[in-house]
């Protein structure tokens, strides 16, 4: 009997010692910003840090003025684990609901990771009327859902790139390659999840079919695939000049390694999440020279001298956390979202969700990613000029391990160079 009691109490003590109730007292009651996302994943972790950085900056200036009172921001984060394979969406939604009910946040920033979780979570957001500025999930499905019932779902905004805008960038890069080198045979490899499938489909519809490209193959890989040899063999056999990968799983790094060891004479142009950050050069043993990759928002993991705020943000993050940003998706819009929210709250003069939403719709801010405005689907507009819209970036790894922005032209630093073994057709 004693053993039983002792064991139980040991367990109870160990568990509860991990639960740390964090109660800080502020002069004015803080405004809570909730960050429910997959904190265990790189994008989630760095976005959370970026939010914290923005909050610290705002609080250092005294906070946000609401109805004549300066109130500080406070971040409440929760790990909803939705990006991990095999975690039920329902479990992620419970986490979302918990943070809304327990912390009573004025707004949510970052939000779910997987579009599947975002779509299902929109109903909860609508139910509790909490404005959300999403910065990770990418499927355009949520805008479609919003447009279907704008009054109900109007609380959902997205500051990051979505699949539709990504398509514009991929198509633009392909057009550039076609113009410079005359290539027109592409092999598409994408991860079998909603946003990647949508992106690949759109690029085909919007660009490849119209511009007369030949798609020599299109393969969907289930999340977790770890051998890409067959696809690469096919790409080689069918004479593809360009391989367009769209992946956000860690295993997609294997694709790059195999592309290198199998010496496929095609240029790799698309999005592979492990290739985005500056750290990739070392991780991949300096063997990614020539690969062209997309960084979803300027400022996340890359900066441009042409947009000074992006450089300030990028450098400040490095100073604050001792490590450069590595996530090509999330941090910059998360940082921006906090400022957008602060401005909207000040303009609205209250924390009433409907008033905040009305002001968020009027957002027009020049910041890290360029100029941010929302369209009628509450999606930040992305274009090719940082003075007009927010911008995404396409860069190429050089043979010396530098990242050179090659697209869009407004912030480009150099021209695309072909990997050895591949000859220009012009």
């Amino acid at each position: 009997m004693n053993r039983f009691v002792v064991l139980l109490s040991i367990m109870a003590v160990t568990i509860f010692s991990f639960v740390t109730p964090g109660t800080n007292s502020y002069a004015a009651e803080p405004i809570i910003i909730a960050v429910p996302t997959s904190l265990g994943f790189l994008e989630g972790k760095e976005s959370h840090r970026a939010v914290q950085m923005a909050v610290t900056e705002i609080n250092a200036k005294g906070g946000v003025t609401v109805g004549g009172v300066k109130r500080p921001f406070k971040v409440a984060a929760i790990d909803i684990r939705d990006a991990a394979r095999g975690v039920p969406v329902t479990e992620a939604l419970l986490g979302l609901e918990k943070i809304i009910l327990e912390k009573k946040p004025a707004a949510i920033v970052v939000g779910p990771f997987r579009s599947e979780a975002l779509m299902a979570g929109m109903d909860i957001i609508a139910k509790y009327k909490v404005p959300m500025l999403g910065t990770i999930a990418m499927s355009p499905g949520s805008e479609k859902k919003l447009k279907g019932d704008p009054e109900k779902y109007k609380y959902v905004f997205r500051t990051c790139l979505n699949a539709v805008h990504l398509v514009k960038y991929l198509a633009g890069t392909m057009a550039l390659i076609n113009k410079e080198f005359g290539f027109n045979k592409v092999y598409v490899m994408h991860q079998d999840v909603a946003w990647a499938r949508a992106t690949a489909g759109f690029v085909k519809k919007v660009y490849f079919d119209k511009a007369g490209w030949e798609i020599v193959g299109l393969e969907a890989y289930p999340t977790g695939t770890s051998d890409f040899s067959s696809g690469l063999m096919k790409a080689r056999a069918k004479g593809a000049q360009v391989i367009m990968p769209i992946f956000d799983m860690p295993q997609s790094g294997i694709l790059v390694k195999q592309w290198k060891t199998m010496r496929v004479p095609a240029i790799m142009t698309g999005f592979i999440s492990p290739l985005a950050g500056s750290g990739a050069w070392k991780i991949f043993d300096k063997k990614i020279g020539g690969a062209i990759n997309n960084i979803f928002e300027l400022g996340s993991a890359i900066d441009s001298a042409k947009v000074p705020q992006s450089k300030i943000f990028y450098d400040k993050y490095k100073r604050t956390y001792g490590k450069a940003l590595q996530a090509g998706h999330g941090p910059a819009p998360s940082y921006e979202s906090v400022y957008i929210l602060a401005e909207a709250i000040e303009r609205a003069g209250s924390l009433d969700p409907d008033a905040i939403v009305a002001e968020l719709e009027k957002t027009d801010r020049n910041g890290v990613m360029g100029r941010v405005r929302y369209d009628e689907g509450h999606q930040a507009i992305f274009g090719f000029d940082p003075k007009e819209t927010a911008v995404s970036t396409v860069f190429q790894w050089t043979k010396t391990g530098k990242r050179v922005i090659v697209f869009p032209a407004s912030i480009a630093e150099g021209k695309i160079e072909l990997p050895p073994g591949l000859k220009s057709l012009k």
Binding site: M11, D79, M119
Partner: protein
């Protein structure tokens, strides 16, 4: 001088042993208390909780049912590592019925429970002929593979799943429907296990060859037990589909396999009440521990190991023993 511990039945247990227990309120209460407590508790609890904890209560009940289903199988000698198979199958069947044919939840839930039960039973039928570890291996692997089947073929909404299911008419109906089913399952199957049918099932677990020698077709009985267990699991899946208004690949997730096992082991394997008790402890605990994120799953793992090695009887049997008996130290001559 040495001492030893001796366990003796409490006086009240002895007094309450025959029909004269009816003469005393105390004794009637002693007999009825353990049954009344969960019934009254389950009926009143939903009224006292706030909206969020009512949601948690739903998952407590769902995991309790899954744990009961697990324990039923374990008592027949089949150790399932894939309750998610039953859960997911029920969820998809009702989701499909509701999404493609627009059937009302009152039709889809019972149909999904039975149809899901039949499909799971058919899938696992070949393994029933084998003893030991095969059943565990196959149950672990099938739900994880079914996920990939859905991912690959993109049937039933593929990776996005099907959303926009018809919800149940009211929140209270949700809560009391699952409470009712839980109580029926708990007490009904307890009764079933102490009947002749249950005796055969337990006999199969203890020594299947003797049961065969008695001229009983053990495969028939195993199939029946499997059907009952998978129908319970399928019911929970179908129910949750309508609560969350969503069904997708995550319904086959490992969580639905691990938590019920953990609940049954912690609560006390070999008794349905123990499985229920385990769910009532673990699920709220896991909600409280949500703040520590992924670490709570580490705790589940450790709970499993500690309980299985150090306290294989589980909490329920411990409480039961304390309720009926007391202990004292006596001198040994």
């Amino acid at each position: 001088m040495k001492k030893r511990r001796e366990r003796i039945d409490r006086g009240i247990k002895v007094r309450a042993g025959d029909v004269f227990a009816l003469c005393s309120w105390r004794e009637v209460l002693y007999l009825a208390g353990p049954k009344l407590l969960p019934i009254i508790g389950c009926l009143i609890l939903p009224l006292l909780l706030n909206a969020y904890w009512q949601k948690v209560f739903l998952s407590v009940a769902v995991f309790a049912l899954l744990a009961i289903s697990w324990d039923l199988l374990a008592q027949t000698g089949m150790i399932s590592l894939g309750q998610a198979l039953f859960y997911g199958m029920g969820a998809y069947v009702s989701g499909i019925l509701n999404h493609y044919w627009g059937l009302h939840p009152f039709i889809t839930i019972p149909v999904a429970a039975i149809l899901g039960g039949i499909i799971c039973t058919l899938l696992l039928l070949p393994v029933l002929r084998l003893r030991g570890i095969y059943f565990s291996m196959v149950t672990l692997i099938i739900p994880l593979m079914l996920v990939r089947l859905i991912e690959a073929t993109r049937i039933f909404g593929g990776t996005e799943g099907l959303s926009g299911m018809t919800p149940l008419p009211s929140k209270w109906l949700e809560l009391y429907l699952i409470v009712l089913v839980l109580l029926c399952a708990l007490f009904g199957f307890r009764r079933m296990l102490s009947s002749d049918f249950g005796l055969v099932l337990k006999g199969i677990n203890d020594n299947d060859r003797s049961v065969m020698n008695a001229g009983i077709n053990i495969y028939l009985f195993k199939t029946q037990a499997l059907f009952i267990a998978s129908a319970i699991g399928a019911f929970t899946g179908a129910f949750m589909t309508h609560v969350y208004m969503f069904v997708g690949m995550p319904v086959f997730a490992l969580d639905y396999s691990i938590l019920p096992i953990a609940a049954a082991i912690v609560g006390g394997p070999g008794s349905l009440a123990g499985a229920t008790l385990g769910a009532f402890i673990l699920v709220p605990l896991s909600e409280i521990l949500r703040g520590i994120g992924g670490l709570r799953i580490v705790f589940y793992g450790l709970f499993l190991v500690v309980f299985i090695v150090a306290l294989p009887e589980g909490i329920f049997h411990y409480i039961q023993r304390k309720y009926h008996r007391f202990e004292r130290w006596v001198e040994v001559d």
